[in-house]
């Protein structure tokens, strides 16, 4: 009896600690909503208001007056969507070649892929900036999308999945019917690798959406910014008007988090797989 109680108590303790972890993890989202729905005076007041207010619309009106929110949102969407589509296409295509074909130099190319993986972007960023100046792309979204259109991680991830999940018999059958490399890719490989594409797509989209240093360097034109850069500038300029700034933070963060929780379970499983391989 006593032993059972102790076990149950320990089980309860485990959940208490874990719940504390959960509260700390999600508290910022709650507090962002609290700040965004109250007035700055409510937040400044002591003791501060701890519950949602009804000032969100006023805060948003101030926000839209001070920053081009929807323009920045559109820029961010364009960058994230274009990058994701290109990454999915180029990476899965290259992965198909690596997974199912032998060709001279394959090992060399794959070795390059793996060994160059460690190079941090910061080492390249000054010349990248200069290249964009020369191409006339500085200040345009192309400067963000084109260099990110294919990446080593995605090829590596897709190759692993393609080699195990696309049956050779299906490819052979397609070949017998005269399908070349690209038709096999389109009609056989793409339908088979959809789950892996889903993870890579979400991963790429979130990365592009949240990216900060590259947009900060490349988007020199103040009326063509991504959300992250525009929000950071808004904060730098109006750091005391919390509720207004937080309404912008709210709009930029909550949709992504909601969308993420919808896909979360599969995504997290894939993310650990991708990390631990």
């Amino acid at each position: 009896m006593n032993g059972m109680n102790r076990t149950r108590l320990r089980g309860l303790g485990v959940h208490v600690i874990l719940m504390a972890g959960v509260v700390i993890s999600v508290f910022p989202f709650y507090w962002i909503v609290v700040m965004a729905t109250n007035t700055s005076q409510d937040i400044y007041r002591y003791p501060p208001k701890l519950w949602f207010g009804d000032n969100l619309l006023t805060n948003l009106r101030h926000l839209f007056a001070r920053m081009d929110f929807f323009g920045s949102l559109a820029n961010t969407m364009i960058v994230a969507v274009c990058t994701t589509v290109l990454v999915l296409f180029f990476d899965s295509l290259a992965a198909f070649a690596f997974a199912k074909y032998e060709f001279p130099g394959k090992k060399f190319f794959f070795g390059v892929l793996l060994s160059m993986y460690i190079l941090p972007t910061q080492l390249a960023i000054i010349p990248q900036y200069e290249i964009m100046v020369q191409l006339g792309w500085l200040g345009t979204l192309k400067a963000l999308v084109v260099p990110a259109a294919a990446n080593a991680f995605g090829i590596f991830w897709m190759r692993q999945y393609t080699s195990t999940s696309v049956p050779d018999e299906l490819l052979d059958a397609a070949r017998i019917e005269g399908a070349g490399f690209f038709r096999q890719y389109w009609h056989v490989v793409l339908p088979c690798v959809r789950p892996a594409l889903a993870f890579l797509g979400i991963y790429t989209f979130i990365g592009a959406w949240n990216d900060y240093i590259l947009p900060l360097v490349m988007l020199v034109n103040p009326d063509k910014l991504t959300l992250q850069v525009a929000l950071a500038q808004l904060y730098a300029g109006h750091s005391t008007d919390y509720s207004m700034v937080m309404s912008g933070v709210l709009l930029s963060v909550i949709p992504l988090v909601l969308v993420f929780t919808f896909f979360a379970r599969g995504f997290i499983a894939d993310a650990t797989k991708g990390a631990l391989r």
Partner: protein
């Protein structure tokens, strides 16, 4: 990609050395089914057997398929990285003539107190964030692993911080730790404690940045550890329990040793990302260095090396010096990763 939500695979694995040239292999070609037999009549120049060039040409679709990555990589990564080496020996403002200055940039770097301060700031923030982060992650992972209830819920909630925009979270931390109006100081006052000037003290600035990084990455690392824990066969635990080992003993003589490769992985990843902190101090304390010598916060306590690099390169347009900073910093990161690697590896050999 310090801001990426998920770290990719560690750069290990079946790497083939770059010595394997295109001509070095006569691989069989399973890709060619019966439907695509090579034409019987070959051009005279091709010789009696298909030469290496023909073998390459025959595979044009595969080369075409992999070409986008290598094209983009060469233009936007490989060439720039090498060019950064070249730039580190020049004096250049990005517009005028380049001027070769030899090792002068590196000599200046060696004598630059701000550079060394930025290194110190970076290391302090890294230690303050990584140590509690990995420790708490391990505790959380063990706890989630010990229960069967709500695990999916815990996993999702713990993972969410790592996909959240760093800019948004930096703004949030700026508001919550604000000296006058922040929630933290309001709570302290409510407890009749004196408010802490978080954003103007040399140590609390670092602490705030480190707390931010800890908040963002603890759950991610916990999920990684959890995957490792679940891979440990439960028979091992049962056998140990049968031998009379208590939970603490089991943790240190079974869990930790079997988890070591994964701990190594998380140490390497959090070293590489933790040392590259830039967005946090830039959003919290950033301003144009050209106009404000206090960038990085009061006393420049939050000036990390990458933030200093950014100011030198893109605010002062001192590209040569920026290149020197970033190369020196990359070598430092490499050194720290290697040291970490050796430390964790050595523990492995301990009985």
């Amino acid at each position: 990609m310090s801001s990426s939500p998920v770290a990719g695979p560690a750069p290990t694995g079946p790497t083939s050395g770059p010595g394997t040239g295109p001509l070095g292999q006569a691989a069989p070609d399973p890709s060619r089914g019966p439907g695509r037999r090579a034409p019987r009549i070959r051009p005279v120049s091709a010789g009696p057997r298909p030469g290496p060039r023909r073998r390459v040409l025959r595979h044009w679709p595969q080369y075409l398929a992999i070409s986008p990555y290598y094209l983009l990589f060469s233009v936007f990564m490989l060439f720039p990285v090498l060019y950064t080496v070249y730039l580190a020996f020049q004096k250049w403002d990005g517009i005028g003539e380049m001027q070769f200055v030899g090792f002068q940039q590196f000599r200046f770097l060696w004598d630059d107190p701000v550079f060394w301060m930025s290194i110190r700031n970076t290391l302090v923030i890294w230690v303050l964030s990584t140590v509690p982060m990995l420790f708490m992650a391990l505790v959380l992972a063990v706890l989630v692993n010990s229960t069967k209830r709500f695990t999916a819920f815990y996993r999702v909630c713990l993972f969410i911080p790592s996909i959240t925009s760093l800019v948004a979270i930096a703004i949030f931390f700026g508001a919550v730790f604000s000296n006058n109006f922040g929630l933290i100081n309001a709570i302290l006052r409510g407890l009749h404690l004196s408010a802490v000037p978080w954003m103007s003290n040399e140590w609390t600035i670092k602490l705030v940045i480190a707390t931010l990084m800890t908040w963002q990455w603890t759950g991610y690392n916990a999920i990684i550890y959890l995957a490792g824990l679940q891979a440990i066969p439960s028979e091992l635990y049962e056998a140990a329990r049968m031998d009379g080992a208590g939970p603490v003993r089991i943790f240190f003589s079974i869990t930790i040793p079997l988890l070591r490769p994964i701990i190594l992985f998380t140490v390497v990843i959090s070293t590489v990302t933790g040392l590259q902190s830039f967005t946090e101090p830039q959003v919290l304390f950033g301003s144009d260095a050209a106009t404000n010598p206090n960038s990085g916060g009061p006393g420049q306590a939050g000036l990390t090396t990458l933030l200093y690099f950014y100011h030198q390169a893109f605010d002062n347009n001192d590209f040569g010096y920026g290149a020197a900073i970033v190369w020196a910093f990359f070598l430092l990161i490499l050194l720290i990763v290697l040291v970490n690697w050796r430390l964790v590896q050595r523990k492995e050999r301990r009985p």
